[in-house]
Amino acid sequence: MKRVMLLGFAVALIAFPAAARDAAPLVVDEAVEKRMVAITEELRCLVCQNESLAGSRADLALDLRQEIREMIKAGKSDKEIMDFMVSRYGDFVRYRPPLKPVTWLLWLGPFALLATGLAVLITYMRRRSKMTWADDAAPLSAEDQARAARLLQAGPETPHAKGLQE
């Protein structure tokens, strides 16, 4: 009995390479799948602790992904699908917050901050460059200048001078 099994196993092993074939894609329609993934990456999985609908393995996520696949096949547009989800689950389900008065601060904030930051920076720079510095009014005395020259000439022995060379 064992010998028969062994023989059968050997035959199967030999037969295997011949039976190798390209794996069937899990999804029948790649274009539909691609669109579904693009849409569901923008949606939140409601039963998860912050995962997208595209990646979640929760039951509800599987159901919703299937529902969306069918809507795509039925010819619905991305906007219609998004509206479908929002009308049932609210804006909370969108990972990209819609642009509404309540989200103006969110969307425009960063760029407003950047503009403000740069404006403040430029104003500050201008104001600073107009100020006078002590050494502008009273440059180094001849004695101090000689001392500075000596220190610089002394070269890289002193750590202080080394730092100045950067």
């Binding site: 409601l46 509800l60 929002v86 009308s87 049932r88 689950y89 804006d91 389900v93």
Partner: protein, 173 residues
């Protein structure tokens, strides 16, 4: 005085964080409140050839409770619903969500049946239409067929006395 700006902004932030401690970031309010209850025609549990639809309930105030035999939290609220169904005038209809009919009927036999009837939402599509994302959930629907309230999670005695019963009283006027 511009050096006080960082402190000012920080205190503002703290205010919001403090307010945030009282909120639940996972609670999703339903966008269906104030909108007509989505239509469906599902087979009844125990009598699959018969159908039930929200249209049948026009002119009456009623509750739709989403439940399942696999749902652990449902057992928490179930005694409350059974008790409620014995005394109140508002009928409760069940939406058996993604369940096997045999399991569902066995569960009702074991824990009691507060429902006028239950419908079987085997693939969960009706649940999606109602924005169900967890079980149990309960909806209160008025005489015009408009959803007026959604309870996310089990119905507790506090919710029943503070929110549900007053609303039912008002809707029944």
């Amino acid at each position: 005085m511009r050096f006080l700006i960082p402190l000012g902004l920080f205190l503002l932030l703290v205010g919001f964080l403090a307010a945030g401690l009282k909120l639940d970031p996972r609670e999703v309010p339903s966008p269906l409140i104030g909108k007509p209850a989505p239509g469906f025609a599902l087979p009844q549990l125990g009598a699959p050839s018969a159908r039930f639809s929200p249209v049948d309930m026009k002119g009456k105030v009623w509750m739709l409770n989403v439940w399942a035999s696999w749902c652990v939290s449902c057992r928490e609220e179930h005694p409350l619903l059974v008790e409620f169904s014995r005394n109140a005038t508002t009928p409760i209809y069940g939406l058996d969500y993604k369940d096997q009919p045999a399991d569902a009927e066995r569960w009702l036999k074991q824990f009691g049946n507060p429902y006028a009837l239950s419908v079987a939402d085997a693939d969960g599509r009706v649940g999606i239409d109602y924005g169900v994302y967890g079980v149990p959930e309960t909806y209160i629907i008025d005489k015009q067929g408009v959803i007026r309230y959604k309870q996310i999670g089990p119905v507790t005695p506090e919710v029943l006395s503070n929110k549900i019963q007053p609303l039912l009283a008002e809707l029944n006027k």
